[in-house]
Amino acid sequence: MTGDITMESENYMTARAYCLTAAFWFAVATSFGILAASYLVAPDFMANIAFLEFGRIRPIHVNLVLFGFVTPGLLGAAHYLVPRLMQTRLYSQKLGLITVLLWNVAVAAGMIGLSLGHTTGREYAELIWPVKILIVIGFGLIGANLFLTIRQRKEPILYVSVWYVCAAVVMTGVTYFIGNVVWEPETGALLGISDAVLLWFYGHNIFGLLLTPLSLAVAYYVIPKVTRNPLYSHTLSILGFWGLLVVYTHIGTHHLLQVPVPTWLKVIAIVDSVAMVIPVMVFLINIWYTARGKLGEIHADIAGKFIFTGTIMYFFVSIQGSMMALPNVQRITHFTNWVIGHSHIGVLGFAGMISLGGMYYVLPRITDKPLYSRFLADLQYWLILIGVVGFTIVLTAAGLIQGNAWLNGETIYRVLPEIHVYYVIRLAIGVFIVIGAYIGLYNVIRTLYWNPGAES
């Protein structure tokens, strides 16, 4: 528990457990995703099996990706990079392991609950009250472990990645508690329109204040390491950090532009959604300047490759998000498959890619052996990249058809046959992602437990 022992003797059990958790739930989550996509092609698919109804597996898929795959993957990297940057050991590997166990119990209980029909019905906040309490406790334990690690640090300066990890844990802990209305165990919700406002503050911030800062933390650490370049500007990165905190926290109402919420709130949401261009470009300029002239090195390293692609996806999804907050754009894109395409670029293309990159960066370093198979990791990269890009094209096209039809007053039963072909292609592309997830799980398990590679 002390920081006096050298870091090289650290066993990184917590980071290992998070990586395994992420790889496992990624495979399960994408399996549920492919089931959900099958329902959109053939609505009678597995009819009358209550626990596999579309309305149940869709939130299972979303929550598993969010809390089972992306967050633990990024936390796995965070539990490696924070002690390294602070020149100390993690305060308690035992506490870390207990937290991972608790986290897995929460995720599993939440999914069983959802499949049995126990849901609050609020998007991204569907989990039942006891599970929410476990997740709040989980964030508390993660925060305690990381803050006590920082307290025993030997390096006085907090690198920008440490700032982002801390902000993610604290702000999401608060956001999760308030956004899930934890003090109302019966409903987990407020009444009427105020609940919609609160829900979307939570709904957007669970991405903006959890996945984004953790992903940026990992990218800010791994890209300089892979390129062997110092960060282009630490001052700029710190400005971006504070800019993100100021701007990102209150843009959730852009999900409610068609809803009778106060205009001032909509204006704040729209203005700050557009202003998000500033912290996003600050990050990207910084990272891309750090990587300038080293594209070969980045793509030679599997972790760098995943993470650099994640930054490109971040550029794409953020600019798209700022545009989508404009009312005139949203008249066509809102409530259509366009948004589903957007969310897949964000969660899988950006945060998911960086989560996988972070895992592939830390795994060889915490096991002291090379990755079990670089080829399998490369294969997974291409399968997921093809999946994300394919989803983007297909869902964007389907979304534009839906949006224009709606704008022109066409009825839904005329539009559904028009987009059916896109659902079929989407299902086919989804298979790439599922295969990629299972390949990743195999690679992670073999790297952790049955890795014949020589110790480095």
């Binding site: 308030i178 105020s194 110092p230």
Partner: protein
């Protein structure tokens, strides 16, 4: 009614941020920024150098081109929706 929750949320968020910012300022976190940029590279005993091939560079360029094309598509949607604005 919602305004209470909105204000509570924003107050907690800005409150925590302001306190941490004050601590960072007092603690000298913003002083030696030049050294801070090198922190990931300091004390690094484990390096895993990998051979660089030309294909990796081409791969990166293809990816960036794909991203630019995607952005261009999104921008064209924006332009079209603004032109069609009633």
């Amino acid at each position: 009614m919602y305004i209470i929750y909105f204000l509570a949320y924003m107050t907690i968020g800005f409150g925590i941020s302001a306190l941490v910012f004050y601590w960072a300022l007092k603690n000298g976190q913003f002083r030696d920024q030049k050294r801070a940029a090198y922190l990931p590279l300091l004390h690094d005993t484990k390096t895993c150098p990998v051979p660089i091939r030309r294909i990796h560079r081409i791969e990166a360029i293809v990816l960036i081109t794909m991203a630019c094309l995607g952005l261009l598509t999104s921008a064209s949607v924006l332009v079209i929706s603004l032109i069609r604005m009633p």
